[in-house]
Amino acid sequence: MRREAPHRLADYGPLFFPAMMLIVFFVVPFATMIAVSFFQRQQGGFYVPAFELANYQRFLSLFFANVLGFSLMLAIAVAVCCVVLAVPFTYLLTRMARKVQVVWLVALLSVLSLSEVIIGFAWSTLFSRTAGITNLLVMAGLMSEAKALLPSFGAVLTGMVYQAFPYTVLVLYPALVRLDPTLTEAARTLGASPVKAFFTVVVPALRNTITATLIMVFIFALGSYLLPQILGRPQHWTLSVLITDQAIYQSNMPFAAAMAVFLVLVTLGLVALTVIAGRKGEAA
């Protein structure tokens, strides 16, 4: 195939459709959101065009700082848990027979078909006192009496990790399949036990993939607003929950938009930091 720089306007033709889609469904809504974040709210529930920073000012309080901090911490925790679980899992999966791999991947994909609501209520049942997993522990004689495991931070974390895990595996899978299996064999002949070989060869060789996966799960988890409400206490509510609350229940679109813009900026900043840190590590 010849690769040439486009000369005429018509050469850009194939880009037209994707560009249009991107403008209509991403650039326009996003620009609208940024614009609305500066608008003035009307008590009646709507807003009028204006340019004021009141929405951002209101945001600069300890309460919202705490919520933002918790949201980021939760998303990081979910990302780390998912990657720590998914890297060894996917590595072992890629070493299994083709048939076994297909069964696992189909099972994981079917989890993706579950809506967040179903996942939330399924876990709230599993963690409940009356019908939850503690009853099994009681039957097994490991606990004296059943108790509710929710609402709690652990429940929120479990639900979100459960939801993000299939994505994590699917993102890691292609990279791990392509990883040359003789690399680990070579490490073993050079004196590394299989576990050591995994940590000194597989993980470092996949460093970029793992970083990219961490970022993806982090962003995915940042947008979660249902699971924290179903499985957590109000102090476990994320910024996304508050944005939903402002936008839908308080009808304060400008403030919701301001929070959303701020969340996007913080997220971009963190991702940029990660990428820069990754580059530095590579150069060293």
Binding site: D180, T182, L183, E185, A186, A187, R188, T189, L190, G191, A192, S193, P194, K196, A197, T200, V201, P204, A205, R207
Partner: protein, 345 residues
């Protein structure tokens, strides 16, 4: 006993037997080449010696110690893979230091040893380069240096030179052999390239169908092949049907030949004669009679194809001893008894 010993090593994958009852002893410090067509079990055998595959039967001993079930990382060996398997996230120096780092050797010792190894493989000053910036031959040397970093008891190479171009490959063969002699390390190389095996090995092990067909020095393999497979696989040869009658008179391709014996009570056998040992003369005088069908003049050598009773016999000669023949001409093919190898049918 010092060295490696394989006792009826067998590997079965389901109903398929990849390696069948292999017996082999490799004395300390020898260079062994395992040679055979693809799928003959040579790589599987090497992987069992390395511990990457477990034999389904038999045992492997190294310096008298049974290592059949010892995990790979406790065998203290060095192995070079066909893909080389250099670690892409590490520099040249870090790759070579990997086995030392895994064994928690002191940092300064690691650095000293890496410098030593780099100068041994003629790559001094390359320690800080990423492996992706190296040429094929340089990567090869890094893989060899890494495998030799701990001075292993056993040095295994799986088709190590197959990715290199012909010229570089020949140079590396000589280099690898010299390195092995200098270090006196027991070395096993798997290859399908017979030139490679002839160049480097003290002992060539010819395998086919999961079995060892012959294990001997290169020249013996060439001069005294054990069976028709070995004779045909190593170099090129003429395989001719021979028959003996009750009184011991031998005929080859239906024509009587003097001076050749098939051995006591053998009625049918195959004669192997190398093309360079076939002499062409005028017809008659006890020579097999045939007709020249083609002459291939390659400059350095001249190949003459002769049809003898429907069988093709190839004779190779040098330009100085050019046979005076042309296509379609009847010739006599002389089989000298001392260069004919009698192989059982």
């Amino acid at each position: 006993m010092s060295g490696l010993a394989l006792n009826s090593v067998t590997k079965e994958f389901g109903t398929f037997t990849a390696v069948n009852n292999v017996e082999l002893t490799v004395p300390h410090g020898t260079f062994v080449c395992m040679l055979g067509p693809s799928g003959c079990g040579k790589t599987t055998l090497l992987r069992m010696i390395a511990g990457l595959d477990l034999p389904t039967g038999g045992g492997i001993r190294l310096d008298g110690e049974d290592i059949t079930r010892v995990p790979t990382h406790k065998r203290n060996l060095g192995m070079v893979f066909q893909s080389l398997a250099l670690f892409p996230h590490l520099t040249v120096g870090e790759n070579i230091a990997y086995p030392l780092r895994i064994r928690s050797a002191p940092k300064e010792d690691q650095k000293k040893r890496v410098d030593e190894l780099l100068s041994m493989v003629h790559l001094s000053g390359y320690a800080d380069r990423p492996v992706s910036k190296l040429s094929g031959g340089q990567r090869q040397r890094v893989a060899i240096a890494r495998a030799l970093a701990i001075s292993p008891k056993l040095f295994l190479l799986d088709e190590p030179l197959s990715a290199l171009d012909a010229k570089l490959r020949e140079a590396m063969q000589v280099e690898l052999r010299q390195l092995q002699q200098q270090l006196g390390i027991t070395t096993i190389v798997v290859t399908h390239d017979q030139r490679e095996a002839m160049t480097m090995a003290d002992t060539v092990v010819v395998m086919n169908g999961g079995e060892i067909r012959q294990a001997a020095s290169p020249i013996e393999i060439y001069r005294r092949p054990a069976d028709t497979f070995v004779a045909d696989f190593i170099g090129s040869t003429n395989l001719l049907e021979a028959e003996a009658d009750g009184t011991g008179r031998v005929s080859v391709l239906g024509q009587p030949v003097a001076g050749i014996s098939l051995g006591p009570n053998v009625r049918k056998a195959t004669l192997s004669i190398r093309p360079e040992d076939v002499h062409l003369t005028a017809p008659g005088n006890g020579a097999l009679s045939g007709t020249v069908t083609f002459v291939r003049d390659l400059g350095g050598t001249i190949e003459t194809f002769v049809d003898v009773a429907g069988h093709q016999v190839v004779a190779v000669s040098t330009p100085r001893a050019r046979p005076d023949v042309s296509v379609g001409q009847p010739v006599g093919v002389v089989l000298l008894p001392d260069v004919c190898v009698v192989l059982a049918k």
